[in-house]
Symmetry: C2
Subunit: 438 residues, 2 copies
């Protein structure tokens, strides 16, 4: 007798039932389609890379979370994001790539985090980036932001708010106020929304800054007004330095381009409380909230970086990117019952043979499939009732039952399983009707 | 100054340039579409699994090749195929699945083989399987075989030959000839095509079988005649036992179903020299050769197994599956220059602004994209010539150059970059023309 191992997966790894998987794949395909239509081409890189390459820059939390191991003499790791592989790829192939290089990458990454609510150790990231040599128009920033609107619009999720800011505003502000511990202060400012303004001011004062400085900065950044008013406030600042003014100018260009790209103004705002980590981004930054479910966190964000591949090349590669965390998003939507309205009826048609009609059933199925409609023949040696149950459980929208009379008379009964109706049709009309279904 | 790490990947891992990647992804999408149209739904399982689960059955070569490591107390491995995860999944969720369960899975697997020509350590497998509880019609076997024809037909590769046999023929034959060392003899028979018939006979004799037995078996199995003649030969055998006759009967049913499914007879044959490994398959077996490139090896194969998940459950799960090794296939096609005729023109349209026309360019791009045609705006602050070079290098089929006059007169020049022609069109006609391009 065989030894039986209990079938199970590790915690922190998502695995779906077939119906859920169809919805997940539809979402993934939608994102891929938006990326492709907007001129991004696909990239696929190895999941396993040399640790020396993958960890060229990393450190701290990332390094602790990574799945790293040795095989033979080789120290290798599972990628923890899609950005380091992109940097490595562009540095390797710079001479052969066409810049600006617009690539998308939809694939799994790995972080061995402590398993907690909403965190996955294996997760799909859907990234689109535009990489330039030495320079890249700020219109590219708007293009990445527009992808967020386009993706959610295609997913029929419309209560999103894209929050846009620019790191140059923050950098400029720190200089304008002669802040000493810039890094630490930005780290504190990263707590907006998780902590009260008063507490943030207190922490900045604790870092040695004057109370007026702390209060001014916090009030300016957190003041929640329209983007026109906010831009006016920023422009009215005394002692504006060059980097601060660059930030304002870039924001204006991004907003104008978003208008021209057809992104409705109601879907985005200027929000100077967003920081998005400390050392990566250098210009435009953005993140997205679902207004009905702020607890989901950011459901799509990214920004501009001035030195993508500094660990791999001396050449200056600048870029801007957007990333969707699909696994977590799907998990949030599923747990909040926000996917039950999704159409997941695959296959579209089931054919049930009655009597000695396997041959015409297989032939009809082949005709239906050739016309681009998914179809399955329930040819198992089982009862008619169990086959109807199968079609019901699988939520197959159309069932065709074929007995010998149907074949003889070229008259096929097409049952609409959702509406409970049925029609008698000749083969040609039947196929024409099904072609309209998709 | 930053420390620069040489950007590189490990040997045995495929990574493509953007144009090649588009072709690869198109092939992957084609296979996915064939699977979906034929009523298979997607499955996605973790790349990392517990070693205890993944290696419940494995041993020998597989176990040596696996990427296995420990993190904390957990012994985990990268999957080496998609079949063990399928078995684990079906055993875990049997109560909730709808049988027959038709799933496809297109994803990467990992084997740390010695890097050699045409072998990859990370490779895409494209698997479709049909799983039944306790029993499954032999029509399912034909359905899996038909997928090979449909996939290659969609990929416009038409010199394929699907070689079909049945393990019951072999099992029966061994019993009919009272062969003692069945396993060893089958292992020798697995050398058909790699070794001469004389050498195979010699090896069987060396195992202790009479020369007449060895000669009879080898001559019967290797005799290359039409499937009708071969079936006659098999049926004319004296002392046919039950399992042998089952094998003949299943072969006949498979051939009949393939006919009914519209698979032309010229694409398959009965070939009793195929064995496909020793202990996994129990009925129908098949593999596929590219006639113009036999050296590619099998480009799609599979078969029937009677006990999918014996390591995970006492329930009897029977199934049949087909698998395409996409990474190796793509590599073979690429190295033999068999992909250069592929259309990979993404995006379809590039718009070049001349003068102060960014706004109308972005608006037109948005209109084109909304109509389902991929488009990119070359908004970088670069020379006109460098932008045309970009479009050429990217092989973008259509370019629209927009100056202020074009906008004023609603007259846009659409350049066909391949034919070297151009037309002046109003915006609406332009978009209508582009919609026909895809």
């Amino acid at each position: 007798m065989q030894n039986i191992v209990k079938p199970r997966i590790m915690s922190g790894f998502m695995e779906l039932m077939p119906r859920e998987q169809v919805i997940f794949d539809n979402m993934k395909d939608t994102i891929k389609k938006v990326f492709t239509l907007n001129g991004f081409t696909p990239l696929d890189t190895p999941v396993l890379e040399l640790s020396e390459v993958l960890l060229a820059k990393a450190g701290g939390e990332t390094e602790k979370q990574i799945y790293r191991f040795t095989r033979g003499d080789t120290d290798m790791s599972l990628r923890f994001d899609l950005t380091v592989p992109l940097a490595r790829y562009v540095a390797m192939h710079q001479a052969d790539l066409n810049f600006p290089f617009k690539r998308f990458h939809i694939a799994k990454s790995y972080r061995g985090e402590r398993s907690q609510k909403g965190r996955f150790r294996e997760f799909y990231q859907c990234d689109a980036d535009i990489i330039g040599e030495n320079e890249l128009s700020v219109v590219a920033d708007a293009e990445c932001i527009s992808l967020i609107y386009k993706v959610y619009s295609q997913l029929n999720i419309d209560d999103i708010e894209i929050r846009i800011s620019n790191r140059k505003i923050l950098t400029g502000l720190m200089q304008m106020y002669n802040v000493n511990k810039t890094g630490e202060v930005l780290h504190v400012l990263d707590k907006f929304g998780k902590m009260s303004n008063e507490d943030i001011i207190k922490l900045i004062v604790d870092l040695g800054e004057p109370e007026k400085t702390a209060t001014d900065i916090v009030n300016l950044l957190s003041c929640d007004v329209s983007k026109e008013q906010k831009l006016e406030m920023l422009e009215a600042m005394p002692n504006k330095n060059e980097v601060f003014m660059f930030g304002i100018s870039e924001l204006k260009q991004v907003f104008e381009a978003l208008d021209n790209m057809g992104v409705p103004q109601k879907f985005y705002k200027l929000d100077t409380t967003i920081i998005r980590g400390l050392d990566y981004y250098t210009g435009t930054i953005f993140e997205t909230k679902l207004l009905s479910h702020l607890e989901f966190g950011s459901i799509g964000g990214g920004g501009r970086y001035d030195n993508l591949a500094g660990n791999f090349t001396k050449n200056k590669l600048v870029g801007v990117g957007v990333s969707f965390g699909l696994t977590r998003l799907f998990d949030c939507l599923m747990k909040n019952d926000m996917l039950s309205n999704q159409k997941v009826h695959e296959p579209k048609v089931a054919i049930i043979p009655l009597g000695n009609t396997l041959k015409p059933c297989l032939e009809l199925s082949n005709d239906i499939i050739s016309n681009g409609v998914s179809c399955t023949v329930l040819y198992e040696n089982k009862s008619f009732k169990s086959k109807l149950n199968y079609a019901n459980k699988q939520e197959i929208p159309f069932v065709i039952i074929i007995g010998e009379d149907e074949v003889k008379n070229n008259s096929y009964v097409l049952k609409n399983m959702f509406e409970g109706t049925q029609q008698s049709l000749d083969k040609q009309t039947l196929i024409e009707n099904l072609k309209k279904v998709n």
